[in-house]
């Protein structure tokens, strides 16, 4: 549905987007994740045809955003970071204006009522937008994107300013919209993206840092398997034995954690399950294994690692060994 190829955007010297490519199929929810200023909004603005790219191309539903802007804009409902609301209009007037602006042909009253029910703004339908709270305005912004029932929805931080209950409602709404719409949403909040997206694209400093399902990102990101083990036994010998296991790349000794018990981190090549051979060696040599945990990265770790935090691997280790008593 959406095809983005080698997209770059420069503002003078400043590179906002650096050669980003991805494609989104029909009826999927894709989450853009990245720290503030990573280029999420820029990408969305380019996809929706609001600003141009310095280079690269975007096609939506087979139409180029640059050459056939009106064709692509018809397919897209866009909710920008700051919803484009006219504060001197009532919700009703504004939605009717949007309806006219987009030249929608669906039955007017029924369609608008339906949208208001979906985003739960029917109780403020006749109120002035300027007098609405931030949460309501945000939802009017969402309603505006839904007018005309476009097959593609681009939502820039749709839950900002909502209270926790509303956030859950909007997430559920996006999830259900994702069944028959292509949705791109952006957020810098990880659990949000995790909750609704079928696929996550992580952008950092204008670059595509990762692209995959939440599961793939959690498991496949490093391409390696890490085990953290606590074993009794002479450390040098143990380390040597562990390094001898097939598939092990690297063993690190974290030191004595309990009397005569040392903790090791074992890095293995992707795909190889090291737990069985490790157990086998420990049993053969008579080294009691007191704890063993695989330290797969949580999505949060993946995100932080990709976006350049440094305290990571240690953090990952601690998470995996939670519950173990350490001194």
């Amino acid at each position: 549905m959406i095809e983005v190829k080698n997209l770059s955007k420069r503002y003078g010297e400043n590179v906002a987007l650096d050669n980003i490519s991805f494609s989104v199929g029909e009826n999927t929810v894709v989450g853009f994740l990245g720290p503030n200023g990573a280029g999420k909004s820029t990408t969305m603005n380019i996809v929706t045809g609001y600003i141009s790219a310095s280079s690269g191309s975007v096609t939506v539903g087979g139409h180029s955003v640059l050459d056939e802007p009106n064709e692509t804009k018809k397919l897209i409902g866009y909710m920008p970071e700051v919803p484009p609301l006219y504060t001197d209009m009532t919700v009703r007037e504004f939605l009717n204006f949007t309806y006219d602006l987009k030249k929608v042909t669906l039955p007017r009253e029924k369609h608008l009522k339906e949208i208001c029910r979906l985003v739960r703004i029917d109780n403020v339908y006749r109120r002035l937008i300027g007098n609405l709270s931030k949460g309501y305005r945000q939802r009017v912004g969402l309603a505006q994107a839904l007018v005309g029932n476009p097959p593609v929805l681009v939502l820039d931080e749709p839950t900002v300013g909502l209270d926790p209950k509303q956030i859950i409602e909007v997430r559920n709404l996006i999830k259900s919209l994702g069944k028959n719409h292509t949705v791109i949403l952006s957020s810098h909040i990880l659990p949000e993206v995790q909750a609704v997206a079928d696929r996550i694209i992580i952008i950092n400093a204008g670059r595509l840092a990762a692209d995959g399902t939440p599961y793939e990102l959690e498991h496949g990101q490093s391409g390696e398997q890490k085990l953290v083990v606590r074993m009794e036994g002479a450390p040098a010998e143990v380390q040597h034995a562990l390094e001898g296991i097939r598939g092990v790349l690297h063993v690190r000794n974290f030191g004595e954690k309990e009397p005569r018990v040392y903790e090791y981190e074992v890095d293995g090549r992707g795909g190889a399950d090291l737990r069985r051979p490790l157990f086998g060696i420990a049993a053969k040599r008579g080294w009691p294994v007191l704890a063993m945990a695989s330290s797969e990265l949580s999505l949060e770790d993946v995100f932080l690692r990709l976006t350049g935090s440094t305290y990571l691997s240690d953090n990952a280790r601690m998470l995996s060994m939670k519950g173990g008593d350490r001194k």
Binding site: N45, T48, G49, Y50, I51, S52, L66, P69, N70, E71, K73, K74, I76, Y78, P80, V82, P84, L85, Y86, T87, D88, M89, E93, F97, T98, D100, L101, K102, K103, Q144
Partner: protein, 235 residues
């Protein structure tokens, strides 16, 4: 285009701006007409338009156009317009038509005193209508300039003041031409001058060059506005 024009008209008449514009304009027309009545000669009616128009328009039209695009950019509502499946020309034309309608309605209302006078006397209708037509054309060009300037800035004040400056310059540039010795430059200045284009209308002449000039000026600035809006997409 219709949706935008409708929305703009709503904006003008739901906020005080439309009423203040019409009210102030009609107040001064009333004042001038009063002077005409005092002079007891309807032949002065054209002066109402030719002298008042240039004065009032310079100040009032910039106020009408100042928020046109600057407010949209500032409130980021332009994002909604520019990502909707409408061409930029429709957006610009919608805005222009709305501002022009507000102006034309006020100008049409200004004819009421002349109509009243016509019951008791026979005013020079060709002259009056000619002046009105000239004023509308002049106004259309100024509105287009104002809309263009408002698309350049996010500040309504800056837009208003700049539009005022440009309008005044276009009015005064004709006076300059008489003091310039270079014949080419002098000719050019009087060619540009909005005022010298406007004068034939006040004599009741339907000036084709003047009409073409004002309409082209409006078209050029509307075109530039559309380009300016679209520049986000291809710059």
């Amino acid at each position: 285009m219709k949706a935008i024009c409708k929305k703009e008209l709503r904006g003008y008449y739901l906020s005080p701006i439309g009423y203040v514009f019409t009210g102030v304009l009609l107040f001064f027309f009333g004042l001038y007409y009063y002077q005409v009545l005092l002079s007891l000669s309807s032949s002065y009616i054209t002066y109402v338009y030719s002298s008042l128009f240039t004065l009032c328009m310079m100040i009032l039209l910039p106020i009408l156009t100042m928020r046109s695009f600057s407010e949209e950019t500032r409130n980021k509502t332009d994002q909604g317009l520019l990502t909707a499946p409408v061409g930029v020309f429709s957006i610009v034309l919608g805005k222009f038509l709305a501002a022009f309608l507000v102006f034309a309605i006020a100008m049409a209302a200004s004819l009421i005193p002349a109509v009243v006078i016509s019951f008791f006397s026979s005013p020079d209708w060709p002259k009056i209508l000619g002046t009105l037509l000239g004023s509308l054309l002049y106004g259309a060009a100024l509105i287009a300039i104002g809309i263009f300037i408002s698309s350049l800035t996010q500040s309504q004040m800056v837009a208003a003041i700049a539009t005022f400056g440009v309008s005044l310059l276009l009015l005064l540039v004709g006076n300059l031409s008489s003091s310039v010795t270079n014949p080419f430059l002098s000719g050019l200045l009087s060619w540009i001058s909005f005022d010298s284009r406007y004068q034939p209308f006040t004599k009741g002449i339907f000036s084709i060059p003047g009409t073409v000039y004002f309409l082209s000026a409006a078209a050029v600035f509307l075109f530039l506005t559309a380009r300016k809006l679209e520049s986000k997409r291809w710059s």
